[in-house]
Each structure stands twice: as structure tokens, then as C-alpha cells.
Symmetry: D2
Subunit: 306 residues, 4 copies
């Protein structure tokens, strides 16, 4: 099988490598000529046997839209575009509708696994029709981890279902990371002579909290036990927010996932306007010196704990 792959960044490049290892022929295109196999979209189309399959692996939003627009120009009836990036699921139906008049079909795939996917395989969540899934199955089989197909791959539902389930996957991911992080902070703060790294390490077998993220936590702690070289600044790539918006839309309570998202928002603030407001309010009813003692002058003479 021979497919096109647009986007040869870290993810795309690794995926190309994994596909080639399984005997899938890949023609890669990237705006960076140093890594691209072909000079432009026309050449990409020309290099693929019809009906073509083109996997798009570029950042969500404007870039994905631009790539699909350009592929629309060079592809033909019967060709298939797969969006494997982190697009919002609401985009998928739009893309399917955009391409439909030309007879180009569209499907979406949520891809999980990060930089480890090259070696471990990628968890795949697919949205599309049965026919589409069958057609691309050799590619999915090459990308997914070894083991039973249904433990690393799912045909989750119609177009959009791939990105939808990947979105929820990432929302869950945020809260799991937050769970370990809160536990870490408490162990770190407890000042009881606890072997924090050793504890996380020991949780890897037999315990209820064992997971792949825990293994990564152990790797991180072994590299830098007190996270001296890590700033507590955490971006979010959108899926968490979309998950929360979907929850709001469906009246689904989502306290832990929302807390994880808000913790990331806070982590990026130099100054919190909300907490400035709280400090200002305390100042208003407690007196002029914000951090000053509230009750007694004797406090300076009898230092108290809190």
C-alpha cells in the first residue's frame, strides 16, 4: 500500500518511519523542503496511485484547513483524506461536507502516544464509515501497537468520532496527570523523611495506581528528583478546553477535569487578577496593611504559628 503523508514534524516523521517498517510506502510532503519527498501538492498527488489516500498530520486549526483546501485542488473523485491531527471534532463534519461535492471522502483519526509511538505504536481512535475503515486498515495496523487490534484501535463511530474520543482521552489525561501531581506535591511538602521517588517507583507494580503515566513520572523523578530544572508552567493544546465545553453543553459535571484545566491556566499567570481582587477585598475590611496581623498588637511579641 502506498499513501501520502502531509506534515513531517516530530509526529509525522515518526509515523512515516513506523509505516515504512511495516511495508507501507509513504510519500511525504512538508513545507520544509529538507524533509519533504515531493516539492508540492501536485507532485504529491502525481506520486500516488488512484484512488489515493492522504494522511494529514499538521497542527489543528488554520494549518489543517489550509492543507485540506490545497489537497482539494489536487485530489480526485474516490480519493480519501484522513485528518490525524488534533482538530476539534466540530471541524470534521465541515471538512467532509467541503470535500463531498468533488467526491473526495474524509475521515478523522485521533492519535495518542506522543514521541513513544514510533517504538510502542500509536493508540488510534477512528471516525468514518465501515468502508473507509476497511480501506485504510493496513495503515492502522501498521501504526497501532502490537497485541489484539481492539486494544489499540477503535472504529469509534461516524466522522468526528475519532477526534471526539481523542478529545475526551486528553481530558482524562489532564486529570490523571493532575492526580499524580497533587499526590507528589503533598509527599514533597510533608517533610516526614519520605523517599518520594522511591515511592512512585514502587507504585509501578501491584498497586491500584499503576499506569503508563506513572512510569513516565518515575522517569522524570529519576532524572530530576526535585524538578529543579522544570518550571511549573503548563500549556494546554485545546482538547481539554473542548472536553469541558462539551461537558457544559451536555450538563455533565466535570469537577476533576475542569480543576486540572484551571490549574494549567493559573500556572501560566505571572499575576492573578482574581487573587488581586481577593487581596484588595481583604485589605478593605481588614485594614490597610494587607498581610498585617488582624487581631492584636501582641502578635509581634508572641509569634504564633499561623
Amino acid at each position: 500500500m502506498k499513501i501520502g503523508l502531509v506534515g513531517l514534524g516530530k509526529m509525522g516523521n515518526n509515523m512515516r518511519a513506523r509505516l515504512k517498517k511495516s511495508g507501507i510506502d509513504v510519500v511525504g510532503y512538508d513545507t520544509n523542503p529538507d524533509v519533504s519527498d515531493v516539492p508540492d501538492y501536485a507532485a504529491l498527488a502525481a506520486a500516488l496511485p488512484a484512488p489515493r489516500v492522504v494522511w494529514v498530520m499538521v497542527p489543528a486549526g488554520r494549518i489543517t484547513q489550509s492543507v485540506i483546501d490545497q489537497l482539494e485542488q489536487v485530489l480526485e473523485e474516490g480519493d480519501l483524506i484522513i485528518d490525524g491531527g488534533n482538530s476539534r471534532f466540530t471541524e470534521d463534519e465541515k471538512h467532509a461536507k467541503q470535500l463531498d461535492p468533488k467526491g473526495i471522502s474524509f475521515m478523522d483519526v485521533g492519535v495518542s502516544g506522543g514521541v513513544w509511538g514510533l517504538e510502542n505504536g500509536y493508540g488510534l481512535m477512528v471516525g468514518g464509515s465501515d468502508d473507509q475503515v476497511e480501506r485504510v486498515m493496513p495503515v492502522f495496523d501498521a501504526l497501532r501497537p502490537e497485541g489484539p487490534r481492539d486494544e489499540g484501535f477503535v472504529h469509534a463511530g461516524p466522522v468526528g468520532a475519532g477526534h471526539y474520543t481523542k478529545m475526551v482521552h486528553n481530558g482524562i489525561e489532564y486529570a490523571i496527570m493532575q492526580a499524580y501531581a497533587e499526590g507528589y506535591e503533598l509527599l514533597h511538602a510533608s517533610d516526614r523523611g519520605i523517599d518520594v521517588t522511591g515511592t512512585f517507583k514502587a507504585w509501578q507494580r501491584g498497586t491500584v495506581v499503576r499506569s503508563w503515566l506513572l512510569e513516565l513520572m518515575v522517569r522524570a523523578l529519576e532524572q530530576d528528583p526535585d524538578f529543579r530544572d522544570i518550571d511549573g508552567y503548563v500549556d494546554d493544546s485545546g482538547e481539554g478546553r473542548w472536553t469541558l465545553e462539551e461537558a457544559i453543553d451536555h450538563a455533565v459535571p466535570m469537577p476533576a477535569i475542569s480543576a486540572s484545566i484551571f490549574a494549567r491556566f493559573v500556572s501560566r499567570q505571572e499575576q492573578s487578577p482574581a487573587m488581586q481582587a481577593v487581596a484588595a477585598l481583604r485589605n478593605q475590611f481588614g485594614g490597610h496593611a494587607v498581610k498585617a496581623a488582624e487581631v492584636e498588637s501582641a502578635q509581634q511579641q508572641h509569634p504564633t504559628k499561623r
Copy 2:
């Protein structure tokens, strides 16, 4: 009526002034001789007619304990100690038991109102027996705001109930402050040409959210509309934590009040160990450069919004 008052800090001093204005005779004692009416506890006891009433207005914890210990030495059977500070309610029963063998009785009062109490009167929540309450009522009437007695004073229950209800009051207070603060931050961030100060000002009459804290928010915004001179660092004086611990103990869900407390904890951290852990985890599965693009090299050429 003549009472003793231990602790002439900001609160104690204001309370003394308000009591005097109502014709209550106050003998004040403080470790700071510049503000104290008497040189020591013995002189305080000697200056009061038996059976004595002594109001203690010092920081919770060690200082309150120390003051009660010293009063225990100089007071006599039939005397009454009132703890008007922010003690944890669990202390009250201990203090009552400690003083009981000497025939000294004990009651607790939660006092709300901050620096505004001198002018507006103090909201009072009292724990003790009916007899005790009746005995001290002239003092309560002098301290409480004008208006119907039961709108600024409550005999909340037995010993401990005063501090218990004041504790819950403060837990509620945290969440109300947080509510305005979150709303402020969103208005501040929305970048829609909104008159933020004017909006808070307009909420003072007719709206559902009007309150005294809102009035203080307006004062604060009028003094410093963007809180340029306020650092978003917020202490907590303990009652919020105790409220949350009580909630845990009674299996009472407390999501908003706990969120308000955690927001204060975060506001005091230079670095968040939890978010360092999350950043480290993302780094582990996303590649080495924590903030780097996750999907594609093309990102540098086609800047995308998020």
C-alpha cells in the same frame, strides 16, 4: 457595667472605643504598655468588680491559651472569660473544662466586621448558656450594629457555637470573595471595551449580587482600578481550613469553599510542585522541549493561534 479587655490591637482598641461610647466601662490590658490601662493581669483583676467579666481579644492559638492561663491565676469563682478572638471551636470546650474547677465560667464569641466594626457595629455569634448570655447582654448590645438585636447578634448555641458559626461565616466569606474575584478577572480579560469599575458600581442597587463585600470591591476598584498596587498574594487565617475539615468530617461536599481556599494556597506559591510534575510528565511523552510544538515542523512557518 465594667469589663476587662485583654488585647488592644486594631480590633481590641476599636471595640474598647465602641464600648465606651455606649457607657460600658473598659479596663484594657495589653503587653504593649503604651496602650494598656493596667500594668499586669493582677492589676486588671483588681480593677474589676466581682464577679468579673473579661473579654479576650488576642490571636488564636498559643497567645489565647497563654492569656487564659494567666487569667486563670488572677480570677475567682463566679468570674467569666469571653474569648472573642478567632479560636478554633474545638478549643472552647477545653477552655471551659480548664476553668471549671476554679468556678470560672467561659463563653465564646465570633466577631465579624473588621475595621468597620467601630463605626457599623460588630456582627456577634455567641456560644454559651442562657445565663451567661443574659449577663453579658449589655456588652453585646453595645458592640452589635444598630437595628433589631437578632439581625446582628445570635446566641448560636452552647459553648463553641460562637466560634463554630464564625468559622462557617468565614468559609462562606472566602467563597463570596472568590465569586466576585472570578467575575472580575473575566471582565478584566474579556477585552470588549467594558467599563469594569462602572459595572461593579452599578451592581450595588437592584441586582441579585449586591452585598457589603461588593461595596468594598467598588471602593477598592475606585482606589486602584487595575489593582496595579496590589499583589495577588492572599493569606488565610485558619477558619476556612477548619470549615473544610469540618465538612470532610461530616461528609459535606464543599466544592466552592474548598476552591476558594486552594486558590489562596496557590496564590502564595512562587513555584507549584504539582505543576512542575505536570510539566515534567508532558515533557516525558511530548518530547524534550516542554513548550515546543507537538505535531509539526510546519508550525514555525504557519503560526497558529493556540
Copy 3:
């Protein structure tokens, strides 16, 4: 001044009454002929002097849209439509654009105060141009509470700003209600002989938590101290959700307001799928009987507290 008013439900009817009391002439239209002053939109337009002012006070969404569509048919260049309902702010710009080609201008007003507005006046947050505001000021002055204009009225910003600030107002309102509710539940659960209603009553003067909502809480508790006739089922009218979505969009942490919204979502669930999942998970690792003891058979013989 003479204006049209579409929507004579509880809110519209009260507003008509308040306007009339201030000498504003109101022609009301409602689909319910029993309360309507005119039979249809055409008659409404005919009854008003040009340039006309029509205040729309109907449910947000489809009904508001339908009313604006019909007003567009009967109004003329120079006329002004005011949306005083709870529309999402994103609708306002659309409505302004829709009406612009016909020369009909549009402004939005957030109205707070509920059933108490008739007596107390309504808090008003207005979005529009200076000219529009000036033109409608007699109406605003009639509706707003007595006292300084800027304490019950704000020209918050351009079109949309009225509903935007009302939206944030409601988000804040949710969290303030949740704050009192959590405090109430703890006092209720504490089982310490506390006079719960009396405590809320006493918080009305002098305390930091005094507010209009607190006064309503006291009214509610005096009518039904243990809420025996109240089901803990709480709807939400949309503004809270929109506030949260705006917060997500601007990366504003909103832990207390989101908690308040989620608590409402939960309150409406007969069964929580999430908690079913947690129960199922516990079952999987703890054994077959979900609620059974986890550790020891002796438990049956030595009943333990938890």
C-alpha cells in the same frame, strides 16, 4: 415618553407597571391576548410615535429571534429595539447587523432584580452607543432603583456589553448562592445544637457576609427552616454556562463558579453515570459486593464507625 414592550410575562408585566408609575407610556404586546394591549406587531408599531423604541422582554434564544424578526417587518428607519431578556451576548452583534440595513438600531440591556424589581427597581447593565443610551435614559431612570444613577445603572460598553456583564453577574450569583448553601449544609449537618436560622438572621448586620441574597436566605429559612418542602433540584438558565465558556476561552481559572454550575448539573441527575463508573471500578478491584467490607471478616462482629 412612549415605548413598546414585547413580552408581558412576570418580568415584562412588572416592568410595565414600574414604567407607568414613572410616567412612561407603555404599549404592551404579548402572544397572550388577555394581557396584550394590541392584537399584533403591526398594531404595536402603529401605536408608537416615530422614531419608535421597543423593549423586548422574552426568553432568550428562538423566541427572542422570532420577536426581532417580526419587529424588523413592522419597524422603520430610526426606530430602536432593546433586548432586555437573557440573550447570550454573542447574539447582540448579530441582531445589530441584521437590523442595520433597514436603519433600525439595536441595543442590549441586562436586567437584574427578579420579582423584587417592581418594588426595588432593576439593576441595569446597558450595551450600546452613547446616543442610544441618552435616548432611552428616561426609561432606564424609571426602571432602575432609587439612589445615585451609577449605583443601579451602567453603560457597560458597546452592543453586547449589557448582556456580557449580566452574564458575569449571574455567574457570580451562582457562586454566592453556592457559598451560602455550603455553609448552610455544614451548619445543618454539624449536630451541635446550633440555631441555624438564627445564625443566618444575625449575619444580616455588621458581618462581612451580609448581602441581599443572605436576606432572601433568611426569608426562606423563616418560611421553611429545614427546607422540608423544597427539592434540591436546581435549574440553570444558561448565563452560568456561558460565563464558564467565556472563561475557558480566555484561559481564566474559574473554580468556584464552575463548581456551582456542576453542583446544579448533579442536582438534576437521578443517577450519575460517573459515579456508577466509580462504583463499578471499586467493585472490580475490591471484590464483588460493592459496599462490602474491604479488609476483614471481623468487621461484622466489631462494628466500626466507618
Copy 4:
């Protein structure tokens, strides 16, 4: 090696089986004579070679205390008691102090793994001295999972550290379960034709969220895909609460873990007093009929979505 084991419930019984399989000789005692190897504590002590090792595996709190009290009567200088139950870490130091005068030493072990421990081995977190750990290592090696020792066992720190780290482990566990549960509820609610069970199943390999709890989730979903036979009622065994209390004590923000605990509290309420209060408040400002339309009479005629 030969040890005593008090408590032959589900956990104790399984542990006995696993120990025996590894050649550890176990004398079990339980108040239930059907499962006990010896009739009483004296017989247990008599059956063990001095210096004795006795592992206690009974419910935390009163029962653990009672067992330790009784063992104190029958054991001798040089003997060692291990508390492997879910005791609060604050108990451990007390127990060590209680036993010290008789020369009986004490250590604590947090044990994770539930009913799967018999087959998979138990994750062990140990608090005690190096000497104690060395003495009991054959037992730990028999109980822990296969693989490197430090991936299923940790000498976490001094007495108390075993239960402390197990407590944090359980706090983390709560939030991870909540994370999957929130994701499940959204997928369940989304009504997009998504294969929910298939999606969870596919997350088991290659994805970022793969974990042992995810595998249990898949088992649960395969047994009962819509959880028709599961009530969303979730107990908590204490460790989560203690984790949160420790967090409060150390000013550690814990939004996700606290949310998970509160969700369990809510799950057990027939009626929520807090939400009754919110409903009562809405009633007060919105009119008498709590769920009635807020804005317009026309609402009955034009049904609107929300």
C-alpha cells in the same frame, strides 16, 4: 520463616495464601473460628518462634487498636507487630510508643492491590527502621509482585511512612477513577453514535491514559456496558479524607482529589441540603414556582430548549 497473621477476611486470607505459596509459614488468627488456625491470642503467641513477627490485617480504627492491645498482652520483648491495614498514619507513632515500654517493636505497611493481590502480588509501602525492614524482607518479597523489588516495594521512611504513602496513593486513586468516570459520562451523554466500550478497550495500548484502572474499567464495561446493575453510590474508606486534611494542613492545593472526594459525598445523599438552599434562594428572587419560567408567559406557547 513463620509469622502470625491476625485478620483472615478477604485480604488477610488471600495474603495468607500468597505467603504460603512462597514457603512462609503462617499461623492465622481471626475472631471467626471457622477460618482461624488458633483459638486465641495466647495460642497465637505460643505457636510462633521468638522473636515473633505478627502481621495485623484488620479494619482501621477501633478494631486495629483492640488487636494491638491484645497482642501487647501476649507478646514479649523483641517481638514485632506490623500493621498492614488502612490505619491513619497518625496512629502509627502512637502504637510504636504504646508498645515500646514492653520492648515490642512496631512497623506499618500500606498494602495495595485489592482482590487481585493474591495473583499479581501486592504493592507494599513500608514505614519502619532499616533493621525491621531487613527482618521482614522475606515476607515482603513473598507478598510483592514479581519483577524488580523496587517496582513493587518501598521502604518509604520511618514509622508512619507506610500508611502515609498508602494514604496519598489512595487520594491519587480517587482522582484517577474520577477522571475516567467523567470521561465516561461525557461519552455516554454525547449521543453521537460512539462505541463507548470499544473506545475504552482501545485505550489499553499505545495511549497516554493506559493504566490498570483502565483495564478494570474495560472489564466492568464488558460485563455491563451501561452500568444498568450498578448504583452510583460510592463509599470512601477514609484515606481520601485524610489526604485532603494533610493537604489543608500543608497548604497544598488539591482541587482534583478534593473534587473526587466531594463527588463521593454527593453520591450518597438522597437529598442535598445545599442544593435545597440554592433552590430556595432561586425561589425567593425568581417567584414562587421554583421551576417555573422566569421571563415570559409566551414560554408556554413557544417551547424553548433550555
